[in-house]
């Protein structure tokens, strides 16, 4: 009875002090997370005579225009295109392979344990060493490293284990009875996969695809030693940072963030529309 009475009084007095302490901590965390980015977004609109720090000397879009001019050190639009192309391929391959593997891992098969630990090891391995090893391997085979050979492979060593683990979580929540019901209703294995398993797993699969895309899009450590002669966007930006500093860098940051939000927005919108169409379909 005493305990009940006390807690009731506490509730009446308002929130305990720990709430305010933790809320303050969380506030600082948010500031730490988004503050620098906010500064970058603001400074990207710096006037033509301004520098990389406050104060703002007027506002302008010249730094955005600057991105599109192929510079001496960096070619942002082209490397952006390369990054998007590579990320798309990586994301497609990751989806295909990790969905298949996720479904296969529902059962024990000979070597499943070894395969699992190999995948874990690939996540644990220092990323620079992986890139270095792949680079050495290509040299040993006397092959030139390039975007869709060595760089693609290096990125897959990172996105595939990630995709596999994400699929474990997705597949774990999948009720086997759906597949049994499909069998019961006369579906062949392919029909079952196409009309039951994949549609039910679709939200998770899209998540894996987006995750792989993002991982590839801003990958640096594994890619840098195996990219060959044509850089992806992160490598290009890094080159820019180490050679010259102008608000152009900030403008690039603003644009890439915008692109990321655009991709996420479009994906979510398509998922929602898909669901609404399914819910509202009135076949006659």
């Amino acid at each position: 009875m005493m305990v009940g009475g006390q807690s009731y009084q506490t509730a009446g007095r308002g929130r305990p002090w720990t709430f305010y302490a933790l809320a303050t901590l969380f506030g600082f965390f948010l500031l730490f997370l988004y503050g620098p980015m906010l500064v970058i977004y603001i400074l990207s609109f710096q006037g033509p005579h301004g520098g990389v720090t406050f104060p703002m000397v007027g506002t302008s879009l010249v730094w955005f225009e600057d991105i599109l001019k192929p510079g001496q050190m960096a070619n942002i639009p082209v490397s952006f295109g390369r990054s998007i192309a590579l990320a798309s391929v990586v994301s497609l391959l990751t989806i295909t392979i990790s969905v298949a593997a996720g479904l296969a891992f529902r059962r024990r098969f000979p070597g499943s344990g070894v395969l699992f630990y190999l995948a874990v090891a690939s996540l644990v391995m220092p990323s620079l060493l992986v890139g270095f090893g792949i680079g050495l391997g290509f040299r040993a085979l006397d092959t030139k490293p390039s975007l869709f050979t060595s760089a693609l492979g290096a990125q897959l060593t990172w996105t595939l284990p990630f995709g596999l683990f994400a699929m474990f979580a997705v597949v774990n929540r999948f009720n086997r009875a759906y597949e049994e019901a499909a069998n019961d209703l006369g579906a062949s294995s392919w029909q079952r996969l196409r009309h039951v398993t994949l549609p039910i797993l679709l939200p998770g699969i899209i998540g894996v695809g987006m995750g792989a895309f993002t991982l590839s899009y801003d990958e640096y450590a594994r890619t840098t030693l195996v990219i060959g002669e044509r850089n992806t966007l992160p490598l290009e930006i890094y080159a820019l940072i180490s050679s010259a500093t102008s608000p152009t860098l900030f403008a690039i940051g603003t644009v890439t963030t915008g692109v990321s939000f655009l991709i996420i927005g479009i994906t979510l919108w398509r998922i929602l529309r898909l669901q609404r169409r399914r819910a509202g379909a009135v076949p006659s």
Partner: protein
């Protein structure tokens, strides 16, 4: 409904099969444990058969072997004189309704019901027309465009039923179909399952651990335990003459007591309290009194330690009421004591 019935009779062979389902020494092993141990069972045409037993007794494994979702390790399964032991799930003439219903969450009710027709390549117009007939059969026509998540448990079950029945099965398999429903709905769906079975004229095999459900529904009740069939019969045969102590205890409503004649089962509603008479008796103490409306249940603990109960008509009880703690004697007529095997 009429169309279903006529299709069924023209589709059959010239000689009517004697049994809809026949299990011959069917065995299921998981690693080293035997889930189903060489059981044999014959289910006459158009029966409502209930597989009843405690969890882990092998009833669900048996159902899943008939459906083709589990491999049969030994023995044969025949449906209407056709050996289907090794046939794929969809070629057996069975349809299964899952405990979780397993309605496809991304398809609306109409598409769920039409699913099997779509798999067979039936065109959109044809399969939707047929699916609407089956939605009509389970009184769910106005829910055609809803997704399963937008339905109550009872409505989901009706859709699952329609989806199974549209395949025109010779045998419908139901895995604990009522366990997810609340008690009121359970009784209503129970009536409806029985009505459907009668109207469709096919065999239903219904797995349950509830003796009430089995008694209310079954033409043929199969009591299972530890991978064996313990007794087969109509609910009345089993209730009036349980073969052994396990069955008497499991189906409920019985006292199992050691007497000079050996172990006997006596129906609790045939027992009385405190009257000395020509019958046998056991003395003990009242431990609980439950008023249940038409009857009052008096629970006793015997001096020898056994628990027993008497179900007394309310007027009999209130003519001579007892309270927890009172010494009491349980009496019954010798004719009502039914000897049972020790199990």
């Amino acid at each position: 409904m009429m169309r279903l019935a006529s299709q069924r009779s023209t589709g059959g062979t010239a000689a009517e099969p004697r049994f809809d389902v026949e299990l011959v020494a069917v065995t299921k092993r998981y690693d080293r444990t035997v889930a189903v141990d060489a059981i044999s069972l014959r289910i006459p045409p158009a029966s409502y058969c209930c597989l009843l037993g405690p969890s882990g007794c092998g009833k669900t494994s048996t159902l899943r072997m008939i459906a083709g979702h589990e491999i049969v390790n030994d023995g044969d399964i025949l449906i209407r004189d056709r050996n289907i032991t090794d046939l794929p799930t969809a070629k057996r003439g069975t349809a299964m309704m899952f405990q979780s219903y397993a309605l496809f969450p991304h398809l609306n009710c109409l598409d769920n019901v039409a699913f099997s027709l779509k798999m067979r390549g039936v065109g959109k117009t044809g399969r939707y027309a047929r699916a609407r007939e089956f939605l009509d059969l389970v009184e769910m026509e106005e829910f055609a465009t809803r997704l399963p998540a937008q339905l109550s448990g009872g409505q989901q079950q009706r859709i699952a039923l329609a989806r199974s029945l549209i395949t025109e099965p010779q045998v419908l398999l139901l895995d604990e179909p009522l366990s997810a429903l609340d008690p009121f709905l359970r009784v209503r769906m129970r009536e409806e399952l029985k009505r459907l079975q009668r109207e469709l004229g096919i065999t239903f095999i219904h797995v349950t651990h509830s003796q009430d459900e089995a008694m209310a529904l079954a033409d043929l009740m199969v009591v299972m335990d530890q991978g064996h069939i313990r007794q087969v019969g109509t609910p009345r045969q089993i209730f009036e003459a349980p073969a052994d102590a396990f069955i008497a205890r499991f189906i409920g409503g019985h006292n199992v007591l050691p007497t000079s004649r050996g172990l006997v089962a006596i129906r609790a509603d045939r027992c009385r309290i405190g009257q000395t008479g020509n019958g046998a008796q056991f003395s003990g103490r009242v431990i609980a009194v439950e008023y249940q409306g038409p009857v009052v249940r008096v629970a006793l603990q015997m001096q020898s330690g056994e628990h027993a109960a008497a179900l007394l008509p309310d007027d009999t009880f209130f003519a001579a009421p007892v309270q927890p703690g009172d010494p009491a004697t349980l009496v019954w007529s010798e004719a009502d004591a039914h000897p049972v095997a020790v199990s």
